[in-house]
Symmetry: C2
């Protein structure tokens, strides 16, 4: 997997771009996806300005999605369902979709410190319902701040909770996340745990606003070898 | 507050006893409450065996509840409502009830890695609905393991998320928690955040079973002074 490009749907947004930047710095080829191919190309150019050696391209989302086996979905919850509908013709069995979506009440003009109830139970479970057969959904990247990811001078030192029903798929995603210095992937169980994990984001958003910071989380008491 | 006793409803259980032990070691008088006065007295004796200088007594829950201004509720969710009903005649305006209850599905013979839906939104919000007028509810102590609390040789190094609608009450609870070496209280916002915080317990229970540990959580990116 090491040299396979990582498509990032919604890669022009703050979280997607931050992840793209960090993966690119780790030497991983990335494909920034956007609804608009022009905006994707602009973001790719912006990334190259910061990291001249980066292997990065910008493509329309459904063209991006076919470029690698592990596809990151970094879009606001408001657009998650629409994006997954648009990706139905692009995603292929054997691919992994990493869902980073959080159903913040902000999606319906409510507060970002509150979680919406999602009919399937969570954004991750909604993604699992919508992907084509044979695509594994892994839920991850909910607690790392887009702002700190996007600032390469910021030293990361935090955990990423990874949930999914396929152990193999979770391991591949964990390996990908572990390429980013300072991020430690932790196995958080089956995909239904995304219900609990997605709740961390509004909690951290509240803490960020109270303490004027970009908080993350760390699980204490874990051994060195986690996968 | 420093010398006022801390009543612990359900103090004979693993979490309540662990908190009693740690507070007692910090020099705080504790009152272990139980439905059964005899069992409360036994637990107090057990605590004194471990810490001969401890200031600890054991009383029936409603007698315990009147012994100090900050009352900890450390009972399983299955018994939370019954306990709060029994405390209605004991709790007085101006007291603070610290709710550590987590609505695990285990309460209804389901899995401890799943959260029940609570009509009020969370166990903390149910507590707020049930306490007498003038009693402030603060939600805390959901993520620290009863096993590590109860093992005084174990060095704690983790955070406690504290949520509540009264800033004053939250501060008092934070001061109490901070007396325990290795626990750092973090302001997690209004009481409704207990919905999100309570979800951390089933998540950690899953992590504990997967990694054979007693995990806790830590918020990264915070400054030194939090209150």
């Amino acid at each position: 997997m090491s040299d396979e490009p990582v498509p990032i749907i919604g890669g022009t947004g703050a979280l997607g771009f931050g992840v793209a930047l960090r993966l690119a710095r780790a030497g991983t080829p990335v494909v920034i996806g956007s609804r608009d191919a022009g905006r994707a190309a602009e973001s790719a150019a912006k990334l190259t300005e910061q990291l001249p050696d980066a292997n990065v391209t910008g493509l329309e989302n459904s063209e991006a999605a076919v470029q690698g086996p592990v596809v990151l979905l970094c879009v606001p919850f408001r657009n998650q369902s629409e994006n997954l509908t648009n990706l139905k013709g692009a995603l292929r069995p054997g691919q992994i979709l990493v869902d980073a979506t959080v159903p913040l009440a902000a999606a319906v003009s409510g507060r970002a410190t509150r979680l919406l109830g999602v009919p399937q139970g969570s954004a991750g479970l909604q993604a699992a319902e919508m992907v084509p057969d044979g695509v594994d959904v892994v839920s991850a990247l909910h607690t790392v701040s887009a702002a700190t990811l996007g600032d390469l001078d910021h030293v990361l030192d935090e955990d990423i909770l990874v949930a999914g029903d396929s152990v193999e798929a979770k391991k591949r995603v964990a390996q990908l996340i572990a390429r980013i210095d300072g991020l430690r992937p932790v196995n958080a169980g089956r995909l239904e745990a995304s219900k609990l994990i997605e709740g961390l984001t509004p909690l951290l958003i509240g803490i960020n606003s109270r303490y004027k910071t970009h908080a993350g989380i760390r699980i204490t008491g874990l051994q060195e070898e986690l996968w």
